[in-house]
């Protein structure tokens, strides 16, 4: 069984898109907007009663949709872009998660792109950035000659921060193998530009010669963008790679977090069985990948649509 989780467009979502402190990496945007979208869908599926606070949570079947072996959580309908396609810059970031076999990535990438294209009602993407598990820019660049040392997050596992997946970055060959899938999408003109995240100079040096389509973007997370290591800036300039900023967690959806969001606890959506919820799905959920999409009206710098899809496997045999 596969679970397809979605946030819908989070731009009008209010508090879930705002977080503090600003430079802290965080997956709070994903987790709180998932929760919010679930709550809204639950509320919409509950017939209005006599004004009292609703009864217990509605059955998850009422606000989710099963199609074959996939369950959409919540039930989902696309919200296509309003203006003509050429008005937009569409960026998609695909997060591969730790401990998921990399041979699934080809299919996962197709699936992710397909979901986003359908959501936005379009046929192509401007920039696709791939995030490999275990990579962290801060620790990665040993060659930094910056005057001021980059400070790693002082407390990386605090609430709202990023939890460490504990996995090492994978070897270059695995990354290159994944990259071939992206190159294929580029060839098919589904994606115009490709990007990577958190690569330092050394990794770029090993990676670039093996690519057929070079990444044009390297997205890095630095608390203070004014202290990006000089060598990386020079290298990127030489290779024609644009250095962009982000503040996403690499390990954007740890299994424990997902279990809590879907579970039967106080803060859970009641999709998974648990105490007092025998109707819920039984088994172990394993997040597979997450995709973030952003559609910006180019001329005006207005973010019209932004959201996430996350896919998890439910192993009922567990």
């Amino acid at each position: 069984m596969k679970l397809i989780l979605s946030t819908s467009n989070i731009m009008s979502g209010g508090p879930s898109v705002i977080r503090r402190p600003m430079f802290e990496k965080s997956n709070a945007e994903l987790t709180s907007s998932l929760r919010e979208n679930f709550t809204i869908s639950q509320r919409a599926s509950t017939p209005l009663t006599n004004g009292n606070a609703g009864p217990a949570k509605p059955s998850f079947r009422s606000w989710t949709t099963q199609q074959g072996s996939a369950i959409y959580v919540p039930s989902h309908a696309p919200s296509p872009l309003v203006e003509p396609r050429e008005s937009y810059d569409i960026t998609v970031k695909l997060f591969f998660l730790p401990n998921i076999p990399s041979d699934r990535r080809s299919a996962q990438t197709r699936e992710a792109i397909d979901l986003v294209l359908r959501e936005l009602g379009t046929t192509s993407i401007d920039l696709l950035i791939v995030s490999f598990p275990g990579i962290s820019f801060d620790a990665d660049d040993e060659e930094s000659d910056s005057d001021e040392p980059l400070t790693p997050p002082s407390n990386p596992t605090t609430e709202g921060g990023c939890s460490d997946s504990g996995v090492m970055p994978e070897d270059i060959d695995t990354m290159v193998a994944t990259w071939r899938t992206l190159e294929k999408l580029h060839e098919e003109k589904l994606v115009s530009k490709l990007g990577i995240a958190e690569f330092g100079v050394q990794r770029l040096n090993k990676f670039l010669p093996q690519t057929k389509v070079k990444p044009t973007v390297n997205q890095i997370n630095v608390r203070d963008c004014c202290v990006v290591p000089k060598p990386l800036i020079l290298y990127a300039k030489k290779e024609g790679i644009e250095l962009l900023t982000h503040n996403d967690c690499t390990n954007v959806l740890p299994p424990g977090t997902l279990r809590e969001i879907l579970g039967s606890g106080d803060r859970g959506a009641g999709v998974l069985a648990g105490e007092g919820n025998t109707e819920g799905l039984k088994g172990d959920v394993q997040p597979q990948w997450v995709v973030k999409y952003t559609a910006v009206v180019k001329d005006r710098g207005v973010v019209e649509s932004k959201g996430y899809f996350a896919v998890a496997e439910l192993n009922e045999a567990a």
């Binding site: 819908s8 731009m11 009008s12 979502g13 209010g14 508090p15 898109v17 705002i18 977080r19 503090r20 600003m22 919010e36 809204i40 869908s41 509320r43 919409a44 599926s45 009422s62 606000w63 949709t65 199609q67 959409y72 919540p74 039930s75 989902h76 309908a77 919200s79 810059d89 960026t91 920039l127 973007v217 890095i220 630095v222 203070d224 963008c225 004014c226 990006v228 800036i233 644009e242 250095l243 962009l244 900023t245 982000h246 503040n247 952003t294 910006v296 005006r300 710098g301 207005v302 973010v303 019209e304 932004k306």
Partner: protein, 530 residues
């Protein structure tokens, strides 16, 4: 260096400098500290000219284009006396109290208006000024935005309105008038009074006989109404006592204009035109908008809604007008970019800053209070977010957005806003469910955009300046200038800013313009810059 800074640094100041004498330098102070003192202009001209009839500034101070002296003369004529620009004086340790402006000449008899000072125009404890130049001679930072269409323009106009007083207080830079320390920090009300053409009847000093209405505000004042056809605009936000020309409004309505916009224009049109060119009265050319622009451009509100000029492809625009000019290009770039980013965040997140417009006017007054940025509280909306559209699910699993939930009943308007410090508005309230803060909203917007590291670094410097101005780490220019005067060895602690102090202040402004704090001068405003 980003383009915005480069433009002023390498273009405008440079071009200005090229047209100046070697002893001159283009600085951006809001006002010249000793404007209106004897010999304050070079070359020197006699005061009490026929156009301004001011006892402080010569007619030559006005732009020689016929429009400007005429404007000043017509305002005076309509008022029936000179303008009265009274600013409270700053009471220092040795300031005589009550304080009587020592620079008033009560014995001038060149013009009928010279009687003004003998008829109560001068007030105890106020600095007295008597000409349009004291207000309209100010320098400020105004930004015009292009909207994609009229709807977006109307929305930006409304949403930026409540930010006006906040940005006015944050940019405060005007603590000196006519050689005296003032007890206020910003220029706004002085300009308002310097072009106030209301008659005694309109001001409520005499019973209404010839004039049509009492007017609570000068034609230079904060906005008085909202204009967006936005479902979030509650009628409670509008001012029930707004003065409009009802006949004119009816004509606009009859012509197909909607009520909100008709109200806006019918409000602007309660004013008389101040300058009309003779030739424009000979025949009415409807292909031009001169008569409209004439009234529009002499209604100086803190936002301006600008319809496209006829026959051009310029679209709908909105101007944000309250900010004070800062000494350095860096600060001016920071504030300009900040406002641009706020508009992008407003449009992207569909933010809602609505509150009763009369509260905005109230905030405008609060912004004048000395050091308002760190001592005062301003009315502001608590929750800027709109309710997320709810979705209904049907049997097939398809869901349809049903738009903003109309089912959510509106609570009392008074519960929607509260008093906040500038720091809370800019940096956010550190409480659960509190106002998130303009900077966190902007940061959140930037996190949704593809921004390269160098640009983000520049933006971080800009936002850091604004963050620290708001939280009190850095001083406003008003505070810095006031302290500069008070620490000057020649200052007698009697509120008087003499020629020597003024000279040193202007030289300091020149140095800060060039060094931007890197040499340590002005670090209280700018921080320790590399």
């Amino acid at each position: 260096m980003p383009k915005s800074e480069m433009l002023t640094k390498f273009c405008r100041r440079k071009i200005a400098k090229e047209h100046m004498a070697t002893t001159e330098y283009p600085i951006t102070l809001t006002t010249f500290p000793r404007l209106g003192t004897p010999d304050c202009t070079t070359p020197s001209y006699p005061v009490s000219g026929p156009k301004l009839r001011s006892q402080y500034v010569p007619d030559e101070i006005a732009n020689p284009h016929i429009r400007f002296p005429t404007l000043a003369a017509n305002i005076r004529w309509r008022r029936g006396r000179k303008v009265e620009v009274n600013v409270p004086v700053f009471r220092d340790e040795k300031t005589q109290w009550p304080w009587k402006d020592p620079s008033v000449n009560y014995d001038l008899h060149n013009w009928p208006e010279d009687d003004d000072v003998r008829n109560g125009a001068v007030k105890d404890n106020y600095i007295y000024m008597d000409a349009m130049a004291f207000g309209m001679g100010s320098c400020c930072l105004q930004i015009t935005f292009q909207a994609k269409n009229i709807e977006e323009g109307r929305k930006m106009y409304d949403q930026l309105s409540p930010l006006g007083p906040i940005l006015l207080a944050l940019t405060a830079a005007t603590p000196i008038y006519k050689g005296f320390l003032a007890d206020t920090d910003v220029r706004w009300n002085q300009i308002s009074r310097a072009v106030d053409d209301r008659t005694p009847e309109e001001l409520g000093e005499k019973p209404l006989q010839n004039d049509r209405w009492r007017l609570p505000k000068s034609r230079y004042a904060s906005n008085s109404t909202y204009i967006s056809q936005d479902s979030r605009l509650r009628k409670e936000y509008l001012d029930p006592n707004l003065i409009v020309d009802q006949d004119l409004k009816q004509r606009l309505l009859d012509g197909g204009m909607d009520d909100l916009l008709a109200t806006h224009f019918a409000h602007l049109f309660i004013r008389d035109p101040i300058v009309v060119f003779n030739e424009d009265l000979k025949s009415l050319d409807l292909s031009k908008a001169d008569h409209f622009e004439n009234l529009q451009s002499t209604n100086w509100q803190h936002m301006r809604f600008k319809p496209p000029p006829p026959g051009s492809d310029t679209g709908w625009r909105v101007e944000f007008r309250p900010m004070e000019i800062q000494i350095t290009d860096f600060e001016n770039a920071a504030l300009s970019v900040f406002i641009v980013l706020i508009t992008r965040a407003i449009l992207s997140f569909d933010l809602n800053f609505y509150m009763p417009i009369t509260r905005v006017s109230e905030n405008m007054e609060t912004a004048h209070i000395r050091d308002a940025v760190s001592t005062e509280k301003f009315w502001f909306r608590k929750n800027p977010f709109s309710t997320r559209p709810s979705r209904t699910t049907n049997g097939t699993g398809e869901s349809t957005p049903v738009g903003s939930r109309p089912s959510t009943p509106f609570g009392p308007v008074e519960d929607e806003y509260e008093q906040m410090s500038i720091n809370e508005v800019i940096n956010g309230q550190q409480i659960e469910g509190g106002f998130p803060g303009l900077i966190p909203l902007v940061e959140s917007y930037l996190n949704s955009m593809n921004v390269d590291v160098e640009t983000r670094c520049e933006l971080a410097r800009y936002l850091d300046l604004i963050r620290k101005r708001a939280d009190g780490t850095y001083w406003t220019a008003a505070k810095w200038i006031r302290e500069f005067v008070r620490k000057h060895p020649k200052y007698q602690h009697d509120s008087v800013v003499d020629d020597e102090i003024s000279f040193d202040l202007v030289k300091a402004a020149e140095q800060i313009t060039q060094e931007e704090g890197r040499d340590g001068l002005g670090w209280e405003m700018l921080g320790k810059r590399r």
